[in-house]
């Protein structure tokens, strides 16, 4: 009996000891904090780069990385694709951390910077004489929070409307729709049903929660604002959102929500070769500028056009704008080789060579002023549309907060319910949502209440 009691006592002490200990932060990272002095030669190292890209796009990134390795032969970079934000968050707590990490959601810059998961890059930038003025205003804004810059932009995305010109011609339509009522009209004309009543081709899919259909993307159609000047959520107080949701629901009801879900279940993955727009299951679709590269690669003979998203009939001056966000790239706290990581990051985010290579390959928007003017950028009429959208004054991005992408996620859940017809009081629901988002934000910033 005594032996067993001893064992349990040991266990208890162990438990309390382990739990009382600090975080898992220190796994022997070489240089903590300050960068080495200017002019110091870069030491040899093997570093890891995490990116979210896969397949062909991953290949483009690897090409850019090869250029870096050619210029810095003592540094070897292992590129790992398919990373999502969950993995980046987990890496800051335990397990292996990469030296450089890239994320698709600029929204999470807030969470990474706020919690210290990604290091402050300012000391490195100051030492190497890089000013953040080389970035256009939007990317400059979504890579920092409250003055702490923990990320640099690595190309940006702009969203617009893709439309299938062949289908338009067949239906006797010309040119892209410019207003939302035109959009609905065209969508209905372009929709084809199977003999048994199920949807065969959908003119425009209004379901927010599918592919790149998100409130962030549809917001610019009505000019919706996410926050006011004090940073408080305005989903309920800005009438544009209620208007958007009401308009959208009407189109959903015309198709029938269940019919849409069924239709979506039979579609290919967004980034696969069976993408619904590329396969002709969809006549019009809101998508990012990278789609031009996918189409050129997978269905080069497709007759399609690109245009800004249609806008509210009552507010047509909004036309030409859209949603923009971008990739962010930073150095996690637990990176082992911060100097080499910075060298790679600097190259990918600021060197013209890298920006142009990535832009041409990924068909993303370059994020430094100089690379945007580079003669090496491949011209492309369909891609031009997005460059224009990127530069348009009505183009918006989602606000960066310490709550990361939580506001988006909360709004997405709300929209899911709304679309399924489970929200009876739209305005009340939106006002409640604002309260939730504000509470979430307070939570993330202030006292760490569970």
């Amino acid at each position: 009996m005594r032996r067993i009691t001893m064992a349990i006592a040991t266990a208890a002490t162990l438990a309390l000891g382990v739990a009382a200990c600090g975080g898992t932060g220190d796994s022997g990272s070489s240089n903590d904090g300050a960068p080495v002095s200017k002019g110091t030669k870069l030491e040899a190292a093997n570093i890891t780069l995490w990116v979210g890209f896969t397949q062909r796009e991953l290949g483009v990134v690897k090409d850019a990385v090869k250029q870096f390795e050619a210029a810095n032969p003592q540094v070897h970079v292992k590129v790992v694709g398919g990373i999502n934000d969950d993995k980046i968050i987990a890496a800051s707590r335990g397990g292996k951390s990469p030296d450089v990490a890239q994320s698709f959601s600029a929204d999470n810059a807030g969470a990474f910077c706020g919690s210290g998961a990604w290091i402050n890059l300012k000391p490195y930038m100051d030492r190497d004489g890089i000013s953040d003025a080389i970035f256009p205003p939007a990317p400059r804004a979504y890579t920092q929070v409250d003055g702490t810059r923990c990320a640099l932009p690595m190309l940006a995305d702009a969203y617009g409307l893709y439309y299938n010109e062949a289908m338009f011609k067949k239906a006797g339509l010309s040119g892209p729709p410019k207003t939302v009522s035109q959009l609905v009209d065209y969508a209905k004309k372009l929709t084809v049903k199977n003999p048994d009543g199920t949807l065969k081709v959908v003119g425009f899919n209004p379901d927010m929660g599918w592919y790149s259909n998100t409130p962030a993307n549809f917001g610019p159609m009505f000019g919706g604002k996410w926050v006011d000047d004090q940073g408080k959520s305005t989903l309920g107080s800005d009438p544009a959102w209620a208007k958007l949701l009401t308009w959208q629901k009407q189109l959903i009801d015309w198709y029938g929500y269940d019919n849409l879900v069924k239709f979506q279940a039979g579609l290919g993955d967004e980034f696969s070769t069976s993408n619904a727009f590329e396969k002709g299951r969809l006549a019009m679709n809101v998508d990012g500028e990278w789609r031009t590269a996918f189409i050129a690669n997978e269905v080069p003979n497709m007759q399609y056009g690109t245009a800004p998203v249609p806008v509210d009939d009552d507010n047509q001056s909004l036309y030409g704008g859209g949603y923009t966000t971008g990739n962010i790239i930073g150095i996690p706290k637990r990176a082992q080789h911060k100097e080499q990581a910075w060298a790679l990051l600097k190259f990918l985010a600021t060197a013209d060579k890298a920006q142009v290579l990535l832009s041409n390959g990924l068909r993303n928007v370059p994020t430094t002023a100089s690379s945007a003017k580079s003669p090496d950028l491949k011209p492309d009429a369909k891609f031009e549309t997005f460059l224009k959208i990127f530069g348009n004054s009505h183009t918006t991005t989602t606000p960066i907060t310490a709550a990361g992408s939580a506001p988006q996620e909360l709004f997405n859940s709300f929209v899911d319910k709304w679309q399924a017809g489970r929200v009876k009081d739209l305005q009340g629901g939106l006002t409640d949502l604002d309260k939730q988002i504000d509470a979430q934000l307070a939570n993330a910033q202030g006292e760490q209440v569970p």
Partner: protein
């Protein structure tokens, strides 16, 4: 033997004690754990919007899925005892699905129950029924999971089979002599004789229901993946509309996606208490209907 015994005990006792301790702290692995008393529990019962769907979903499994599973296993085993030819083959066929790794089975079922292209809805269409949206529908996602779990009923079925075969023939014979019909023999001879096994199956089934994770995770993320672009699992867990958000899934999300480890520990403590309570309840109640044969015990 001693070192093994001590080691084993530590591996059980240590996590238990630590979990209880952590449930009173805020711990996100970035800084040391911070004592916050009952705040986690307060949040759980008054503020967390997801805990009630999670509890409801898990209880749904216990109340609906477990009885279905036990009855189905019993029914299949009973059918097998009546078979004359090829019992071995049938038994193998019924057992095979239980061998499939849960992830593989779940993936297969999401495909089969795909509302647009899956064979099940295709077959339903042939007879003029508009099949439900299964894993994409908040009302049908749990039934879809139930079908998946019923498919894998092999282990329970084998146990019932062994028990059924063990029922002394003499009991049936004397019942027949007394003029009992097939149904009456079932009710008064078979069921009481195998009641310990029914109890066992119910308890094991309940424990499994309280811990269901793999199939729910795969079902939700795969079905949602065909609807959304980001491959971000933490957004998809519980798809659609929290209908597949079971208690263990929420615990995982809180603890290992959001790193609210203190809160996850609190959830774990609640799960422990409820697991014991339900099991005790079943076992206590069993005295009324479980009949242990006096022979050989």
């Amino acid at each position: 033997m001693a070192p093994w015994i001590v080691g084993f005990s530590v591996f059980i006792a240590y996590p238990l004690i630590t979990t209880v301790y952590l449930s009173f702290t805020h711990y996100d692995l970035l800084e040391p754990s911070r004592w916050i008393g009952l705040a986690n529990y307060d949040y759980m019962f008054s503020h967390d919007k997801q805990i009630w769907p999670a509890i409801y979903n898990t209880l749904w499994l216990v109340v609906i899925m477990v009885p279905l599973k036990v009855m189905f296993a019993f029914g299949v085993a009973l059918m097998l005892t009546r078979a004359r030819a090829g019992v071995g083959i049938f038994r193998t066929i019924f057992y095979l699905p239980a061998l499939a790794p849960p992830v593989a089975a779940a993936l297969g079922f999401v495909y089969i129950l795909n509302p647009a292209t899956g064979p099940v809805n295709g077959a339903l269409r042939l007879v003029g029924i508009d099949g439900p949206l299964w894993f994409n529908s908040p009302t049908w996602s749990k039934p879809a999971l139930t079908l998946l779990l019923l498919w894998g009923v092999g282990n329970t079925m084998i146990i019932f089979l062994a028990a059924l075969v063990d029922v002394p023939r003499s009991l049936y014979e004397s019942a027949s002599l007394d003029g009992a019909s097939a149904w009456q023999r079932l009710r008064w001879v078979t069921l009481p004789s195998i009641s310990p096994v029914i109890l066992f199956a119910a308890v094991v089934g309940t424990i499994e229901a309280l811990q269901l994770f793999d199939q729910a995770y795969v079902g939700a993320t795969v079905a949602a993946g065909s609807a959304s672009s980001a491959g971000d699992p933490s957004n998809d867990l519980g798809y659609p509309e929290n209908s597949t958000l079971f208690y263990p899934v929420l615990l995982y999300q809180q603890g290992f996606r959001f790193f609210n480890m203190g809160y996850a520990a609190a959830m774990a403590v609640l799960l422990l208490v409820v697991s014991f309570a339900i099991t005790m309840f079943i076992v206590r109640n069993s005295r009324r209907w479980v009949h242990y044969a006096g022979v050989g015990r």
